[in-house]
């Protein structure tokens, strides 16, 4: 492969055509490198060249969305680049979003590898880090020289069609995406080595960092359960016989709502368990064991709870991805709130 052809994307300020009051400037193009493109070109050390610089006002991109992105892509495509580099945007939020949007669109729609650079606290990082590699920068352009070296290295690599390495290898902000790779040594050797390093007080690095999970604050307790409407919701896979909503046995993609308005008791004739992650003979025998309608009816009759809500909700929890489970919870919760339900009993398996 000869020299890597690169198109560079900048905003109006870094392209040297104006400051804040020109932020609505429409997309335009110049041949060769401009502004930060000059040190970037130098960092390519003759292995690549910036064939054109596309630039646009930050407000223009942020306000007009896809129409402007399409115009930018058209300008980029004309120069048949092997790779597109956007920024660096440093701490500028609007410029960061523009860089992320352009780089992502170049990858997704033109099929050309792209990358950008900005400071890790730029709000665009959260929006785009999963979609395109973002090289971390300081918040101000003072460190331009070092940044363009990292950008040039990754741009050349991607321009040659080589796969993206790990965040450490290629110096980009971790995307929060975990990909499988085959290690040189089996897990058993690695785990013993990890333990020995830990025992000897040497530095060691886990292969699984502590996951970022959301901690929830429990709702305020009910003032009086004797007048509350209570709903039953289960991840235990108890559904009407025949599974009319076709809830999957594992990793369910949906939930089911069904009426229990006239029922005192769930029977094996009318209900079944479709959960694929536990031995559900006992639930099949008496579905109330996972979805205790019978017990709630009794409490209702005794006046110990106000009312059992006339619909139950069910899904299957086995292997559920957290994001999906969260969405189910929100959807079901919104329906229950709208129906005036004050409390939910969640039964799992």
């Amino acid at each position: 492969m000869g020299r890597i052809r690169m198109v560079h994307y900048l905003n109006q300020f870094f392209a040297g055509v104006g400051g804040e009051k020109h932020a609505d400037l429409p997309p335009a193009i110049r041949l060769g490198p401009v502004g930060p493109g000059l040190p970037l070109q130098e960092a390519l050390k003759g292995e690549g060249e910036i064939v054109a610089t596309v630039y646009c006002g930050d407000d223009c991109v942020n306000a007009n969305g896809d129409e402007v992105i399409r115009a930018i892509l058209e300008l980029v495509a004309r120069h048949r680049p092997n790779v597109v580099v956007a920024g660096p945007a440093f701490a500028s939020g609007r410029y960061g979003v523009a860089c992320g949007a352009v780089a992502q669109a170049v990858e997704a729609r033109l099929g050309i590898p792209a990358l950008t650079a900005m400071s890790p606290d730029n709000p665009a990082v959260e929006l785009y880090r999963r979609l395109v590699p973002i090289i971390p920068t300081e918040s101000s352009p003072a460190t331009m020289k070092e940044i363009v070296v990292a950008m040039a290295r990754l741009a050349l690599k991607r321009g040659r069609g080589e796969p993206l390495g790990s965040p450490e290898e290629d110096c980009y902000i971790p995307r929060g995406i975990r990909k499988n790779v085959v290690e040189a040594r089996p897990a058993a050797e690695r785990v013993v080595e990890l333990l020995l390093a830990k025992l000897q007080g040497e530095p060691y690095r886990t292969e699984i960092p502590f996951p970022q999970v959301e901690l929830l604050t429990p709702a305020v307790p009910l003032a009086d359960v004797r007048i509350a409407t209570i709903a039953l919701v289960t991840s235990g896979g108890v559904v009407p016989k025949g599974n009319p909503d076709r809830i999957e046995a594992r990793r369910a993609s949906r939930w089911s709502r069904f009426s229990i308005a006239d029922l005192d008791d769930l029977t094996a004739e009318d209900f079944e368990c479709v959960h694929g992650g536990f031995d559900h003979d006992l639930v099949a025998e008496d579905p109330d064991r996972a979805l205790p309608v019978d017990a709630l009816r009794e409490l209702e009759r005794e006046g110990k709870v106000g009312r059992l809500y006339e619909y139950c909700y069910a899904t299957v929890g086995a292997g559920a991805p957290i994001d999906r489970a969260r969405r189910f919870g929100r959807e079901i919760g919104e329906e229950l709130l709208a129906a005036g339900v004050q409390a939910v009993i969640l039964t799992a398996t």
Partner: protein, 428 residues
Amino acid sequence: MRLELASYEVKDVRLGPRTALRSGVLEIDAGEMRALLCQDPVFEDVKVELARPGEAVRIVHLLDTVEPRVRVSAPGSDFPGFLAPPLTVGEGRTHRLAGVAVMGAAELPLSLGGLNVKEAIVDMAGPAAPLTPFSRTLNVILAFKVRDGLTYREYDEAIRRAGLRAAVRLAETSRGLDPDRVEGFELTAADPVLPRVAYTCLLMQEGDAHHMFVYGRTVDETPSLLHPNEFFDGAIVSGDHHMAAHRNPTYVHQNNPVVRELYRRHGQALAFAGVVISKCLTWSFFDKQRSASYAAKLARLLGAQGVVITAGTSGHGVADLMLNCQEAERLGLKTALTCFEMAGDEGAECGFVTFAPEADAVVSTGNMDEVIELPAMERVIGGDTIIDIGNYEGGGGAPAIGRLKTALHRIYCCATLVGAGRMTAREM
């Protein structure tokens, strides 16, 4: 307690008129094997098939896998608790056919409600091959055809026993021959300045299809001790038919790679203190806490300063893993763990049902949710159709020989928890 493990390196395996090992070639009389295994009335037929590394072959419906081994000196017997009385093994001399794996495959004519047998696939070539240790072995597949109308337990027990029996029969061919190498395993006294390291091995016990055996019995709530040599002699036998990716078949315990690694470094970088076995998938939090605390105490009684803990399975088995880590760390023992991930097909989700802050040294055996596209193969062994359960992996009910897009869940032992595999997940 010293065990001599004599390895006979097998370079090729073929079917022939007489079961014998000659110059590194294992010849198997399929008719004799069939007659031996069909003594059990559960089987209508048993077909012996072979799959070698690099062949365009797909094996499906895999159950347990066993390495051919035979005890050739007293005391002890082959697979105690299954083929012989449950007397302690791990001492004396045992022969193994290195490089051979006896794999059971069957489609059972019954549904088990929640705990169905999951599909399990090995491709001997193509993109899935590097992910499983069993694409590198010479595989002798026993394709079982079972009679209708029996219970799961009857099928399960018969198939397990048949696999063990076949493994012993094949290893018998080494009697009287000179081995390629002999390894001696003994917990010799080590320099007291070396850190003492124990191994806590979590074993699953939930019910049919989700269980492991120690000397013929499922694991109970109270953790106990094993001498590491007992692994090599078949004290642990697998009934783990849960998700194929993280299964721990008998083979990986006979060659338990953590036990081997701790032995390899014994006397040099560490002093191997012994093995604690502890049940996972215990039903109640009470029992989980009790087991974890008890296991940590046993490791401390072994004088350990550090402990390697391998996960037993997924689901709330991860809670057992994390509790074992926490309890050990609470006693001042340093821990390092193995764990699989279920981070979604894109790898963008949180891959764990629970995680302890003390778990700061964890080796990943990979994200089982990642999707792989398998090419069509020339030959398929074990069945015609991909088992369809829940079908979230994709491709359920598809022809087994064809192209298949599936989550790694179905790739046999690609994320095996005792650490035999090389797959890991990395943040990108």
